[in-house]
């Protein structure tokens, strides 16, 4: 177990190193002169030059690269070129809103997906089964930002139940969470359905049934406990995806999370914020992947580590 953990950590560190390298290359490719942007268009050339010197933009590329990595390791992702706040601070200020939205979206996915998946598995070919197939198709075919706008029009404007975007109350949260979770929910039901059908054919289920255990108890104790495993894995991976994928939803609903922040940063040509967010979200993905794997091993003793 410890050996596996170390191997995973080394692997994750490698991936994060790669991610950081790519973001560095992207920062370097950025058009426009960051120092000039910061100083303003009318600033004298010597001021701009001094900023360049201060930020180390005149150093050779490898030196800048090593410095970038060194600072990133210490949690220093640079400063916003707009208001010179530390990028990490800016991300952490907005992170709670994004987490709130991402978790709510995940909750919606599970609340719709799990019951629908169970229904579909218990009666293959029934309306519930048909509905999950249909929903999963629609879910992956609708662009979330368009769904968000249509939802705003219908339930914010035509039937004014919800506010037209913004942040604060539970009412503000409901629409974006529903839109965010809708697409993925059918995916969960499909996975859970197939997983239940797999488990149902196993010997121990037959044994339990033969012992006279009530069908409901068999479902709860024996089937679901095992069939939910892939759902747990998915949820973990999904949360990481939701973290990065909420950009469009945040843009539609004016939700003040890290996605909206990164998006507005593009208009301000605030590269450190954009790249910091990209780096931050990717690291979150890597760690979630690792956590999910570890969780899986703990939950399912059948998974052997020998294969590596």
């Amino acid at each position: 177990m410890i050996g596996y953990l170390i191997r995973r950590l080394v692997g994750a560190a490698g991936v994060i190193f790669g991610v950081a390298t790519i973001t560095f290359i992207m920062v370097f490719l950025m058009p426009g002169d960051a120092a000039r942007m910061y100083a303003g268009p009318r600033a004298p050339e010597e001021t701009v030059e001094r900023i360049r010197e201060l930020w180390g933009l005149n150093d050779p590329l490898p030196v800048q690269y090593v410095r970038y990595l060194g600072r990133a390791v210490q949690g220093d992702l640079g400063n916003s070129t707009r208001d010179s706040r530390p990028v990490l601070q800016a991300i952490f200020e907005r992170l709670p809103a994004t987490l709130q939205l991402a978790f709510s979206g995940l909750l919606v996915e599970l609340l719709i997906g799990v019951p629908l998946g169970i229904l579909a598995a218990l009666r293959p070919g029934s309306w519930a089964d048909g509905l999950t197939t249909f929903l999963s198709l629609i879910g992956i075919s609708i662009p979330p930002f368009a769904l968000g706008l249509v939802a705003l029009y219908l339930f914010g404007f035509l039937i004014p139940i919800f506010p037209l975007g913004g942040y604060g109350t539970v009412l503000h949260l409901i629409l974006p969470a529903l839109v965010l979770g809708f697409g993925g929910s059918a995916f969960y039901s499909r996975v859970l359905r197939n997983s239940i059908l797999d488990v149902m054919g196993d010997d121990y289920i037959r044994t339990a049934k033969a012992k006279g255990v009530s069908p409901r108890w068999v479902l709860l104790r024996h089937i679901l406990r095992n069939a939910l495993l892939p759902v747990v894995t998915l949820a973990g991976l999904d949360l990481a995806l939701l973290l990065g994928g909420v950009v469009v939803i945040e843009a539609v609903f004016g939700w003040p999370g890290i996605g909206l922040q990164a998006w507005t940063a593009i208009r301000n040509q605030d590269t450190p914020i954009i790249m910091g967010t990209v780096l931050f979200a990717s690291i979150a993905v890597v760690f979630m992947n690792m956590l999910v794997d570890l969780l899986y091993i703990t939950l399912d003793p059948r998974v052997r580590l020998t294969k590596g």
Partner: protein
Amino acid sequence: MVELQKKQNRGFWTRLWRLPRAWVGGALILLVGIGALLAPVLAPDDPLQQFRDGLSDVGTPLPPNGRFLLGTDHLGRDIWSRTLYGAQISLFVSLVANITASVFGTLVGMLAGYYSGIIDTILMRVTDVLLAFPAILLALGLAAVLRPSVSVVVVILTVITWPALARLVRSQVLIVRERAFIESARASGAQDGYIMFWHILPHTITVTIVWVTLSFASTVLVESSLSFLGVGVPLPTSTWGNMIAEGQSRYRIAPWMIFVPTVAIIITTLGFNLLGDAVRDAIDPRTSLQK
């Protein structure tokens, strides 16, 4: 061997033929494809032309009417014409991106799977890194770095598309590589390149085909998301995504500005998802049994 292959292929088309999903999906794609190809003929107006009679007396967009079939936008432009021309961009960008991604992904997957060892490790670590980036965020970053244009959007879509395919092809190659006919080809003196192209590629190409049909839909979605966020194909070219973006602040007075392009996107993605699903089932009948 060739006979058997042919028989299997015939089986594929017959199976595909019998799936209603394939028909519906194919019809939807055909619809969009015709719309895109014949846009200059079908579109009543120039998509960029701002009509004086395209706005109401108070300067608001017109709802669908006899003159403008699907209404006009805030600049008095014809939405139906813009939607048709938008199809050109969406399909073209997605097509090019998927072709490049499938060539690149297949190539990388084959090299990694066939040679294993250090080449495999390096290539797979690269895909690991690329897969760790959340797609839209990576696209946002790339779009910020490179000045948005059609070719930049193609590059972005290719970059976020190929790694997953490369992994899939690699896993397929790992299986095929161990088969006896590969060994016999090698024993009879075939070179690596020859083996890969003539003996392994035919076995992995189906994976690529299925994958590309399904990925087409998500490429269209990402492309429209980028346009919506203002980092896709730049204005004034009309894309479905930027049409929706322009409608975002006006949907209360002109909901058709967001409805029309939304429906266009859904028709396209639904078409490719349906067809892709059908192709997958037709190629491998075993998967359809599990469903």
